[in-house]
């Protein structure tokens, strides 16, 4: 946290917006103001006229900039609302400013439409199951939202079972709704998770890191033992290996690798591979 404090002190001392480009992958704090690159260019880099970004600058539209989680538009300024590292994704097409968001380090999950999550069935009431996903309220899951389920052919789901599903409705102040089928009616991996294996919770940031395409941890883990693993975007991981010992080792590695540097991780994996 010392680093974050340092950044805070700096931003307070500076008392003006920093350009988003210069703080990419750095820690930003709630309340900080950011400038997007177009704004800098328009005003001249380093010039006295470096003003906060105007999102509604109609005459000078150079493509859309999307602000993801952790950033908020406040009037014509861009404010940071979460503590974390600022990220940027280059736009796919030629125009547009890409996507900016803040990778924050939180544990509380907020349902997002389209996210794949692991839930625990807490109640069966008529046509729907109540599923705890770690959000502010349980999600609802229809018994028809399983592959091959019909009114006659009900899926076998018990209270306490684990469900891997996807959000189709996730709005503010509304009960989120899950399904275990894709748009074609196929399960595509979703549904009830088996009775064995271990479920454990990690931070949301770690899940995103593990699921990132350039993350080598999963490959390394896969080399150790044969395993089954499910990642829920709500911070839950279900893992199953041949023996309980192996499952425990895998769970502990995944939990521990959050605050390790690349070198430390390499060491751990090589040590495990030896043993």
């Amino acid at each position: 946290m010392a680093e974050a404090v340092g950044v805070a002190a700096e931003s307070l001392a500076g008392d003006r917006a920093r350009a988003a480009r210069t703080v990419l992958d750095q820690v930003v704090l709630p309340g900080e103001e950011l400038l997007l690159p177009e704004q800098e260019d328009a005003e001249g880099p380093g010039g006295a006229g470096e003003r906060p970004l105007r999102l509604n600058a109609g005459t000078r539209s150079r493509g859309r900039v999307v602000c993801g989680p952790g950033l908020r538009r406040c009037g014509d300024r861009l404010l940071v609302t979460k503590c974390g590292r600022l990220r940027h994704k280059e736009p796919g097409g030629s125009s547009g400013g890409g996507v900016y968001w803040v990778d924050s380090q939180q544990k509380r999950y907020v349902p997002v439409k389209g996210d794949h999550v692991i839930g625990i069935v807490t109640a069966k009431s008529g046509d729907i199951f109540k599923v705890d996903v770690g959000g502010s309220e349980p999600a609802s899951l229809s018994y028809l939202a399983f592959e091959g389920a019909t009114k006659r052919n009900r899926p076998n789901v018990q209270v306490g079972d684990l469900i891997y599903g996807q959000f189709v409705v996730a709005n503010k102040d509304m009960e989120p709704e899950m399904v275990c089928i894709d748009s074609c009616g196929r399960a595509s991996g979703m549904g009830v998770i088996g009775q064995d294996g271990l479920l454990f919770k990690v931070t949301l940031g770690l899940i995103r890191k593990l699921l990132a395409p350039d993350c080598e941890i999963l490959q390394e883990v896969g080399k150790l033992y044969p395993l089954e693993i499910v990642f829920g975007m709500n911070g839950r991981i279900w893992v199953k290996a041949k023996t309980i010992q192996q499952t425990l080792i895998l769970a502990n590695i995944l939990e521990a690798c959050e605050h390790m540097t690349a070198d430390q991780r390499k060491q751990i994996f090589s040590r495990l591979a030896e043993s």
Binding site: D25, V27, I120, G160, Q195, D196, I244, L248, T261, A262
Partner: protein, 440 residues
């Protein structure tokens, strides 16, 4: 907010793991999680961490009038609070059953065991006594609150200093810390709670259960004990039948654990005392480990290139001139050579081993071949030793002929011959290495 339910799969896994004598965090049956005690800047303030369970203890004091029936005794007050910060399931402002149970247990453990001398807290009999208040806040909940809370309470009490008071006639003077050093409380002994979780109707037993183990346990036994092995409180909950032997065994384990924890507490207190006396840094900020969220990715370290040239020149100026390199080319095997010294050439070794393998494969034939070619080989080496250090190998097999500068040609010959005659092939590499050294 509702508590996260425990899934069937977790329950099943936990019970199976316990049957196999394994625990989620890799502990043994009787192991405690790591206990960490850190002190705040003020006296009587501490945080105790038991694994991920954290309890903040804060002791404060106040002059009050005593209870009517105990005119000469100070008052002790304990209050444990389970805030929502510890776990979202705890509701604020409501006395849950768990909270009542924990508070009662704490009082029994610390007040009823008379670990603190309440008589010494009396200032004027019947009029003014010290009221010592121990506030415990659960900061994070990961099971076994009672053990962490009891440790935090006793540590905070040991660490606490109350203002000094003097009584002269009717006049009571309260001194500020600047005028007189505050005095510690007099503590007779340190009772510490040790929890035992029972599973499968008492078949399995675990010390210091964490949150998930607590959820699947059948019964809990809490034993409060001091280091003299005196039981201060014992409480069994969960409604399981315990055998006499089990309780006795638990009390024995508790004795050992309490001894360890007491030592740890004393060490922590001494350490803090020392740091304070030396004027070093203390307080919570010093004891919190930094977990960097940026640790996951390797950052490119910026290299300071401001005065590289000067530094390089400095190094060159300071360094000794490079030693003379002997640049005698050494030809170890056909096709491999070495210039200079000190470089172990592994090429020769490789071929050596290859040859050995070959020999092992078809021993008989190889020997015959070797004996046939022996003459030519010897001749060649003879020629080599006589005039120039060039020896050629004309055999089709991967044969080893070592060329040396003409220092000791005789040895070379014997070496070559011995190689030819297939005497003890395993010794060859050793001999060759000797030769190398001679050459150097």
């Amino acid at each position: 907010m509702k508590e996260t339910p425990l899934s069937n799969c977790e329950r099943r896994f936990l019970l199976r793991a316990i049957e196999e004598k394994k625990r989620l965090d890799g502990r043994q049956t009787y192991d405690y999680r790591n206990i960490k005690i850190s002190f705040g800047t003020d006296y009587g303030c501490c945080i105790v961490e038991l694994g991920k369970t954290r309890v903040l203890g804060q002791v404060s004091c106040e002059l009050v009038s005593p209870k009517l029936n105990r005119a000469t005794e100070g008052i002790l007050f304990f209050n444990l609070e389970l805030s929502q910060m510890a776990a979202p399931a705890f509701e604020p402002g409501r006395q849950s059953d768990l909270l009542v149970k924990l508070n009662r247990l704490l009082e029994r453990c610390l007040r009823n065991s008379k670990c603190i001398d309440t008589e010494s807290l009396c200032v004027v009999a019947g009029e003014k006594v010290w009221q010592i208040r121990v506030d415990l806040h659960l900061l994070n909940h990961d099971g076994n609150i009672i053990d962490a809370a009891s440790i935090a309470a006793i540590v905070a009490l040991c660490h606490f200093r109350r203002p000094d008071v003097s009584v002269q006639g009717d006049e009571v003077t309260l001194y500020t810390p600047e005028e007189r050093d505050p005095v510690p409380l007099s503590i007779h002994h340190m009772p510490i709670c040790v929890s035992f979780a029972f599973f499968q109707q008492g078949t399995y037993l675990l010390v210091d259960p964490n949150e998930r183990e607590e959820r699947v346990m059948d019964g809990l036994l809490v034993i409060a004990m001091n280091k003299h092995r005196e039981i201060c409180t014992i409480q069994s909950s969960g409604g399981i039948m315990l055998l006499k032997d089990q309780v006795l065994r638990c009390s024995k384990i508790a004795g050992v654990k309490v001894l360890e924890i007491t030592e740890l507490i004393q060490k922590a207190l001494e350490n803090d005392q020392k740091v304070r006396k030396e004027g070093g840094k203390f307080g919570f900020a010093e004891s919190i480990a930094s977990q960097r969220i940026t640790a996951f990715k390797m950052e490119k370290a910026p290299i300071d290139t401001s005065d590289v040239e000067e530094k390089a020149e400095e190094i060159i100026a300071e360094a000794e001139p490079p030693s003379e390199v002997v640049s005698n080319p050494v030809l170890w095997t056909p096709g491999t050579a070495q210039i200079g010294e000190g470089i172990e050439n592994s090429w020769g070794d490789l071929e050596d081993s290859e040859k050995e393998e070959e020999d092992e494969d078809g021993t008989d034939e190889a020997i015959i071949l070797d004996s046939l070619k022996m003459d030519t080989g010897v001749e060649v080496s003879n020629i080599g030793s006589q005039d120039a250090p060039i020896v050629l190998s004309d055999s089709e097999e991967e044969e080893m002929i070592i060329l040396e500068p003409d220092k000791n040609p005789k040895k070379i010959r014997t070496q070559t011959i011995s190689a030819k005659q297939e005497k003890a092939p395993s010794k060859k590499p050793v001999k060759k290495r000797k030769k190398k050294r001679a050459a150097n």
